[in-house]
C-alpha cells in the first residue's frame, strides 16, 4: 500500500470517480469528476480501470508528498506541475520515487486538473462510489475537500509495475479533446415556452461565468432572457447540463452536484460530449451556446467514446 501526504490542498481538491448513479429517488445526485474525460484518460495512463478514484483540483493545485514509489498521471487543465525540481509532463504517466514532492500551481488554462495514481485513491465508498458530494458532505474523504495534513491511501495495483513504461496521450487525440468555449446544446424540455426571438437572443448572446459558480451549477451573467409569463412551473426531474432560466432571466447550468429536481424552465441542455468542456470553464470565462440536433449530439458522443477507447489514444 502506498500513500499520498497532502502538504497543501490547493484551492479546492476532492476525491472523485465517475459518480454514483441510481440514487435519484433519494434526492442524491451523481456527483463525480467535473471533467470525466480527463479522469478516465488519467486512469488509463496509469493502468487503472477508467472509473478509479483520483484527485480533482480546482484553479490552484496542491502539494503532495509520496513516501513510497508510485506511478501517477496529470490530466485536464495544466497547473504547471513539478516533481521535486523537474517539470512534469501532462497527459503522461510519470514515475514517482519515494520521498518526492509533486507541486501544482495556479491554472494556465482550464479549471480542473486531475491526479490519478496507479491503483486508485482508496476511500470508503458511499453508495458504491468514492465521489465527494461537497454540498451534502457525502462521499470522498469525510465528504469534504482535502486539507493540509490529510493522508490518502493508494490501492494496491494489480500486477507489478517494476518495469515502468511511459504512456502518453497522442497529440492528435489531445487536440480533439480540447475544451470548447462554445457549448453545443440540444433544445431543453421547455424550449417552446420561450419565443423564437428570445431563443435567438439566447443563442446569439455571450455569457460570462459568475464567480459563485461551483460543482452544483454554473451561474451565467449577460443579457437576461425573457422568462415565460406563465409563472412558476411545478418541480420536475432535471438532467445534467440543463440550462435553466431563473426568475431573474439569467441562466444556470446544472452541473455534477446538481439538484435532482427543479422548478425553472429549461431552454437548452448541454450535450453529453461537451460536459467535460463545462468542467474546464472558469469563473469570468465567456461562453456561448450553439444548438444541434439530437442525432448530432448522439453522433458526437459516439465519436468521443470511440476516440477514448481507441488504441491510438495512448502511445507507449
Amino acid at each position: 500500500m502506498s500513500l499520498i501526504e497532502v502538504r497543501s490542498p490547493g484551492l479546492l481538491t476532492t476525491v472523485q470517480d465517475l459518480g454514483r448513479e441510481g440514487f435519484g429517488p433519494m434526492g442524491v445526485s451523481s456527483s463525480g469528476a467535473a471533467d470525466p474525460l480527463a479522469l478516465r484518460i488519467g486512469n488509463r495512463l496509469v493502468g487503472n480501470a477508467e472509473s478509479a478514484a483520483g484527485l480533482e483540483m480546482t484553479l490552484l493545485g496542491g502539494t503532495f508528498l509520496f513516501p513510497e514509489r508510485a506511478v501517477v498521471a496529470l490530466t485536464g487543465a495544466d497547473f504547471g506541475a513539478t516533481l521535486d525540481d523537474g517539470n512534469v509532463e501532462m497527459w503522461s504517466s510519470v514515475e514517482v520515487q519515494p520521498g518526492q514532492i509533486l507541486r501544482l500551481g495556479p491554472t494556465r488554462a482550464g479549471a480542473r486538473s486531475y491526479l490519478c495514481a496507479r491503483g486508485g485513491i482508496d476511500v470508503k465508498l458511499f453508495l458504491g462510489s468514492a465521489s465527494t458530494h461537497l454540498l451534502s458532505g457525502l462521499g470522498g474523504l469525510e465528504g469534504r475537500a482535502l486539507r493540509k495534513g490529510d493522508v490518502l491511501r493508494i490501492r494496491a495495483a494489480q500486477g507489478s509495475f517494476r518495469t515502468f513504461r511511459k504512456a502518453k496521450v497522442a497529440g492528435r487525440a489531445l487536440e480533439k479533446l480540447l475544451p470548447r468555449k462554445v457549448l453545443r446544446v440540444t433544445a431543453g424540455p421547455q424550449a417552446d415556452w420561450f419565443s423564437e426571438e428570445t431563443q435567438k437572443a439566447f443563442y446569439a448572446g455571450t455569457y460570462r461565468v459568475a464567480e459563485e459558480s461551483n460543482r452544483m451549477g454554473l451561474r451565467l451573467e449577460g443579457a437576461a432572457i425573457l422568462t415565460p409569463s406563465a409563472g412558476e412551473m411545478i418541480s420536475e426531474g432535471v438532467s445534467l447540463g440543463a440550462v435553466q432560466i431563473t426568475a431573474s432571466g439569467l441562466p444556470i447550468i446544472l452541473f455534477v452536484e446538481q439538484q435532482t429536481t427543479g422548478g425553472y424552465p429549461k431552454i437548452a441542455n448541454v450535450i453529453s460530449a461537451d460536459l467535460s468542456s463545462l468542467g474546464q470553464v472558469r469563473p469570468r470565462d465567456e461562453i456561448r451556446f450553439e444548438q444541434v440536433e439530437m442525432e448530432t449530439a448522439r453522433a458526437l458522443l459516439l465519436e468521443q467514446e470511440k476516440l477514448l477507447t481507441s488504441k491510438e489514444l495512448i502511445q507507449e
Partner: protein
C-alpha cells in the same frame, strides 16, 4: 422538441441522455402563442394530483423491480419521472417503447401501505424567520399560520433537490405563499419551509427560497442510518409543535 402523448402519458426528450415521462391525467396541454413577444404557456404540470403521484410511484417501483438495461438513474417528481440513460446503449425511442409496455402494467403494481411519520417542529420567529411575514401576507394571526400548517396530513410526493429533501403537499389554500424573491444563501438544516402549496424540511444547509416557519431537531438524512432518509416517497407526514426546550432536548438526544 419531440413529444408524444397517449392515455394520460406524455414523453418529452430532456437531453441526449434523458427522457421525461409525464403522467398528466387532466390532459392539460401546453398552449403556446407565438404572436406575443413572450409565449403564453400554460404549464403542463400546473396541478399536483394524487393520481399522477401514484402513477409515478408505480412506474418507479416497476423500474426498480425490473430494471431496464442502459437506464442509469431516476429522478421522480410530482407527476413525472426523469429517466437518465446511457446513450451508447439506448435510444430515446427504444426507451419510450419499453416504458409504454411497463405503463400498460401499472394497474397491477402493488404499492406498500403508506407510513405515517410525525415530525416535531419548533415554530418560532427564532427558527422561522418568515413566520411573521407569512402571517402578514395572508392577514392571519401567527397562531393561525401554525395551526394551518400543523393540522394537515401531507403526502411525500417525492424526494428531490438535495439528499433527503421531501416535497410535501398540499398546504391549505389559505397558506399558499410564493417563494422569497431572493433566495437565502444558506438555510440551516432542519428548517421547515413553505413555497406555493408545498412544504418541506431542509435536510442540510443549502441555499433556499422557501419561507421558513420553524425548525425540527430530527435529522432528515443520515448516511450512517440503514434508512438514510427519514422520509420516503408515498409516506404521510404530520408536523407536531414542540417548545424550544423540547427542541433542545431532542436535538441533543
Amino acid at each position: 422538441m419531440e413529444t408524444s402523448a397517449s392515455g394520460g402519458v406524455r414523453f418529452q426528450v430532456a437531453s441526449d441522455q434523458s427522457l421525461l415521462v409525464y403522467f398528466d391525467p387532466t390532459e392539460k396541454r401546453s398552449r403556446v402563442s407565438r404572436s406575443a413577444g413572450i409565449n403564453v404557456a400554460t404549464p403542463l404540470q400546473n396541478q399536483i394530483s394524487i393520481e399522477g403521484h401514484e402513477q409515478v410511484r408505480r412506474l418507479l417501483r416497476l423500474l426498480e423491480l425490473e430494471p431496464v438495461a442502459g437506464v442509469r438513474n431516476l429522478h421522480p417528481a410530482y407527476s413525472s419521472i426523469l429517466i437518465k440513460f446511457d446513450a451508447l446503449k439506448l435510444r430515446h425511442e427504444e426507451l419510450e417503447e419499453v416504458l409504454r409496455r411497463h405503463i400498460t402494467r401499472l394497474k397491477k403494481v402493488a404499492l406498500p401501505k403508506p407510513r405515517l411519520v410525525e415530525i416535531p417542529v419548533c415554530y418560532s420567529e427564532e427558527f422561522g424567520p418568515d413566520l411573521k411575514d407569512v402571517a402578514k401576507l395572508h392577514k392571519l394571526a401567527l397562531e393561525r399560520v401554525i395551526e394551518l400548517h400543523r393540522s394537515t396530513t401531507y403526502i411525500v410526493y417525492f424526494l428531490g433537490f438535495v439528499p433527503g429533501f421531501a416535497y410535501l403537499g398540499e398546504l391549505p389554500e389559505e397558506l399558499a405563499t410564493p417563494r422569497l424573491p431572493m433566495p437565502r444563501k444558506s438555510v440551516p438544516p432542519g428548517s421547515v419551509g413553505i413555497a406555493g402549496t408545498q412544504t418541506g424540511v431542509y435536510p442540510i444547509s443549502t441555499p433556499g427560497g422557501w419561507r421558513l416557519l420553524g425548525r425540527t431537531p430530527l435529522a432528515m438524512f443520515r448516511p450512517e442510518r440503514a434508512e438514510m432518509s427519514l422520509l420516503a416517497i408515498g409516506d404521510r407526514v404530520r408536523f407536531v409543535p414542540i417548545s424550544r426546550e423540547q427542541f433542545v432536548k431532542l436535538e441533543n438526544a
